[in-house]
Symmetry: C2
DNA sequence: TGGCTGCTTTGACCGAGATCAAGTGGGAAC
DNA sequence: GTTCCCACTTGATCTCGGTCAAAGCAGCCA
């Protein structure tokens, strides 16, 4: 059973991701057109939204919650290749079949557009195509950043990198200041973290325990994290101290 | 000293990458405009084209040769995050500073555009923006494919994956058939392969020797490779047997 | 011709992280 | 409450790939 469709009749003006999503640059007319081909869908945590190879008849934006893109090898080894946050775009215009599994990591609401009308609209609306290019370039940067993590960082650095990314995102969403302690909940299970980081869940658990023991993070329960000193965490992540943290 | 500017007065009609580059969709008028802001530059193997953080006052396409994007940590660990082949695009419109080191892996010729005029042109030329979006989406796919390699494959599978990618590219460039043995030269040193694969150069050397001993590949000198049975190589790479090889 | 340099191979050993295996803890159903 | 379940933790052991070291090999310049 699907989660409650809490955004069912939302209009674009009050949309929480309006200013960051693929429609960010659209004017009133364009929004109206989008409105006519859009619909909301909700997914529960753990649900698979699309299987790799499936026909995709829609594209869309994450409104709330977190989705993941994963690749799986024949023998079951899996690697997460994308973590989709609110305002991120799902689907590839011009491609019929999904290239990756898309899963709801938390409860999730998507703003969907039927694919064909969206593609048609993209061709006549430079605002959308241009914004999508920007977003794709950003994702490419994030993917390349992640290649360094996967290829060259130690398990401890990988965990610290993931925590700092989640902390950064959380701060940018909740508009908290960047000084003082960071407090947030991990939106991923240990296994999902392992799939993201190219580790086993045991190693993830051990390294989180180690960071806790060393005072880099505080843990309350399994998921509630406090980072008393963000610079310390970034140092553990092996990032430059300047860090480009204020992006 | 720079390599010979063999393309100095080339025009777009005879350009070898015309049909695949960022200008692929441009009409005659648009090509003429591009012509007025373009110039060719050559680099020798090993030269650094741009340092991460540098101001970039041009963007451009690889005409011939191979370039690499690399990231380096403070302690010297490096990870290659992109391998740029003929027709690939260098630079990011809308960004001033380079995010990665760009190096010429082989002797290289680039078709450069001054950045500002190119950006202006992009804003009024949907053909260019649209093609760049396509190319960026392709690169994102390639990066995600590579995340699986980095995160989950064994050293032997990593080497086999890289060899199959190079073989594939070589076949698509030289229009050779896909049956029978594949023969090509490695365009990368062992160290560059290691940086690409998240390994050490010793491990790369060992695994290449092992693949040779097991008859998966034949080696003539250090660089000249023959793949007698491509399916066997793909199997060693851990890819699905269907493989999506005919892309 | 000889030696230098850079790329590559090979060997011996070590350690970070994987694997296999128990055990813990907290929330939900009964 | 008790039980079950599931996410997580912790321990013991193994192994793949890293590290350190030496040597091979081809091209190049003197």
């Amino acid at each position: 059973m699907t989660a409650k469709l809490q955004f069912d009749h939302a209009n674009c003006e009050s949309c929480p991701i309006r200013h960051r999503a693929v429609c960010a640059r659209c004017d009133a007319d364009e929004l109206e057109t989008l409105d006519s081909i859009k619909y909301y869908r909700s997914f529960e945590a753990g649900q698979t939204i699309i299987w790799s190879g499936d026909q995709m008849n829609f594209v869309g934006s994450i409104v709330s919650g977190i989705a993941s893109l994963t690749q799986t090898m024949e023998d079951g080894r899996t690697q997460m290749v994308g973590l989709l946050l609110p305002s991120d775009f799902v689907g590839r215009p011009g491609r019929d079949a999904a290239a990756y599994d898309v899963q709801a990591t938390t409860d999730l609401v998507m703003c969907c557009f039927r694919k064909k009308p969206f593609e048609d609209m993209m061709n006549v609306t430079p605002h959308i195509a241009h914004r999508l290019l920007q977003m794709t370039l950003d994702e490419l940067d994030a993917a390349r950043e992640w290649m360094l993590v996967l290829g060259r960082k130690t398990a401890r650095e990988k965990i610290a990198s993931l925590l700092s990314i989640i902390a950064r995102r959380d701060a940018s969403v909740s508009q908290k200041g960047l000084s003082g302690p960071f407090v947030f909940d991990l939106p991923l299970t240990r296994e999902a973290m392992a799939d993201y980081l190219g580790l086993t869940l045991e190693t993830v658990s051990r390294q989180i325990s180690a960071l806790k023991k060393d005072g880099v993070i505080l843990l309350e329960g399994k998921r509630h994290v406090t980072v008393p000193d963000m610079d310390r965490l970034l140092e553990e992540a092996g990032d430059d101290s300047d860090g480009g943290f204020l992006v």
